[in-house]
Symmetry: C2
Subunit: 363 residues, 2 copies
């Protein structure tokens, strides 16, 4: 896995009781920051990573890592997340493979990495780790929490779990709960990994189930894009003599490239853990209904998405919007049209700079 | 694989030159028939199986198999394919696992079954085997050829390759060529099978890559249905304590059931071979364009489909319809609305009885 050289590690010796019953005896949280925390500790903006993201949201020369981050064009002096004004922080995900406690970190009993023994975690558990970071920094109330996709799931949970700790929360391209059709896809991706004998019930000590990981990611790629995009982009005629084992169609090389990238980015057990956390996302669980979950909302919420999104369609964001109206919660609704679809927030810098800049800066 | 006890086997010692270069030294074709061939051999109706079908299209008490066939309600006295009038015939697919030459049949060199050595075959090659059966039966011109889905691919090819041998051809829920988005899905299904170590490069001698076959079929199931259907049908909340290895969501048991059924139905190498044949389907290949391919059409064609079809959308059938208009070919266009979508022709007996009965019986 790539190192995050600018990451600081918070060692938190308090146990974390997980939503589904197990307890992590202690936590490590890898995080980075940009800008300066002001004297009354009121200017923190917490960025919540999506599935393929981590604490290195932007280049961080001050911390010794000037490589671009995954949200490079949004964070910095004069940018949407203006580091002249805001103290921007971002922590890697619980259960992931970017420095925060997860399957690749050491089990506290000294038996080596957690690997397949790592428990199921939920978005609520991930949200709890972000609160631990705020505790550590002495931040009683952050100015804002911002996330898109899986990050929006965390943003919604934080607004519900800790309404007093954020003045504003932006949940972009998210959903109140994961639908069965989406869970079915992720389930098959997990099946692809767990069916690979190199997975070894999660106990691999080498590079692990790379073929399963590739297949899982290729499957995600096919599902997350539209048929039209594939049909426009690729030729339907064979590019070589047809063969089961060889390269017959050009769409195969595109998929293979996407799959290969995943093997350089993900640990398989971390992929499984985060995939499951997304499938279990449901803000209504144990809270009666979506409206009940949102009824004591105190931060001002920003909810919106991309009409072209085919992974988490806009109707899922507008469901949250309608529920917030129902309970008379303070919130804004927006849409940004983009051919990129679900991942627009990574790419449509100008549109999201306007939306988020205004949301953060409004008094 | 299930036996087809009513199947007759045609041994054809003529080699078959395959479209992509290899030659099969001889052929076996498993077929069944219902009704009687008339004295001038003019009343044959050839049924063309889809991917999951075979020669046992209907119960066949006369041949010793009264188990229901895959198109049971359409074939028989007084039915759409009226066996009081028509001599209905159906042959299992080349490259499949239902008695016609394929990966599970014996290689002519005495080295055992073909298995992974079986060559890539195309829809055109499969169509050629149907013509061999007509030759064998002394049928110069059949009254009709009828297929849906992969069967429609064969129907279109037969109308192009052998326009003088059919008076009528019905191609239902088919397409002129397979789109990259569809090929991408089938490619991943093949990857799932070939990544299973039990596949052994196709040379397995036991039950083979069952886990890969299951995963391939589950993947197909997710893709061939709509998101809305999955979201309506299944609960999003966990039905058990969440676990990566266990049953967490009810949609998983549905998928597992579909996958398990596939292992009782398919040989993995046959699945691969037929999957590839569908991806290679393209009536324009080597013929300039779709219109060129269809320009010397002599049989009357019936083209149509199901607006709710999400596997091969109606737009792909209407493309063929428009091309036939373009070249002034004799044809009819129809649609049958059904919530079942792509598989409607297996289920909507009443609607298809009307459409096909009229098409066959019109003078």
């Amino acid at each position: 896995m790539p190192k995050r050289p600018a990451a600081k590690i918070l060692h938190d010796d308090r146990p974390l009781e997980l939503e589904f019953g197990e307890t992590l005896p202690s936590l490590e949280i890898a995080w980075e920051s940009w800008g300066r925390l002001n004297s009354d500790r009121s200017n923190a903006v917490l960025v919540l990573p999506a599935f393929s993201a981590h604490c290195h949201a932007a280049s961080n020369a001050a911390a010794g890592d000037d490589s671009p981050g995954w949200w490079e064009h949004m964070i910095g002096p004069g940018r949407a997340l203006n580091t002249d004004r805001w103290f921007v922080i971002c922590a890697s995900l619980l259960g992931g493979c970017d420095g925060t406690t997860g399957p690749t970190t050491l089990h506290p009993d000294g038996s080596g990495p957690w690997r397949g023994r790592f428990p199921v975690v939920s978005i609520r558990d991930i949200a709890a780790t972000h609160l631990r970071l705020l505790d550590h920094l002495g931040i009683a109330t952050a100015h804002a929490g911002i996330g898109s996709s899986m990050g929006a799931m965390q943003a919604l949970e934080l607004a519900i779990i800790a309404p007093e700790r954020f003045r504003r929360v932006a949940a972009i391209s998210g959903t109140a709960y994961t639908r069965p059709a989406t869970a079915a896809i992720r389930h098959l991706g997990r099946r692809a990994i767990m069916s690979d004998p190199a997975w070894k019930d999660g106990a691999y000590t080498d590079e692990g189930p790379l073929e399963g990981l590739r297949l899982a990611r290729e499957l995600g790629t096919v599902f997350y894009r539209s048929k039209d995009e594939f049909n426009d982009r690729f030729d339907h005629a064979p590019i070589n003599a047809p063969s089961l084992r060889g390269l017959t169609f050009d769409v195969q090389s595109y998929l293979a490239h996407q799959g290969q990238k995943a093997t350089m980015r993900f640990d398989a057990n971390a992929y499984l853990t985060m995939s499951m956390a997304m499938d279990l996302h449901d803000i209504a669980r144990g809270r009666g209904s979506i409206e009940h979950a949102l009824q004591d909302m105190r931060p001002r919420l920003l909810i919106g998405g991309v009409p072209e999104d085919r992974l988490i369609p806009l109707v899922e964001q507008s469901q949250v919007h309608r529920a917030l109206e129902e309970v008379h919660a303070d919130h804004e609704w927006f849409t940004v049209s983009s051919p990129v679809g679900h991942d627009a927030f990574l790419v449509e810098t100008e549109a999201f700079t306007e939306v988020l800049g205004r949301f953060l800066d409004a008094s």
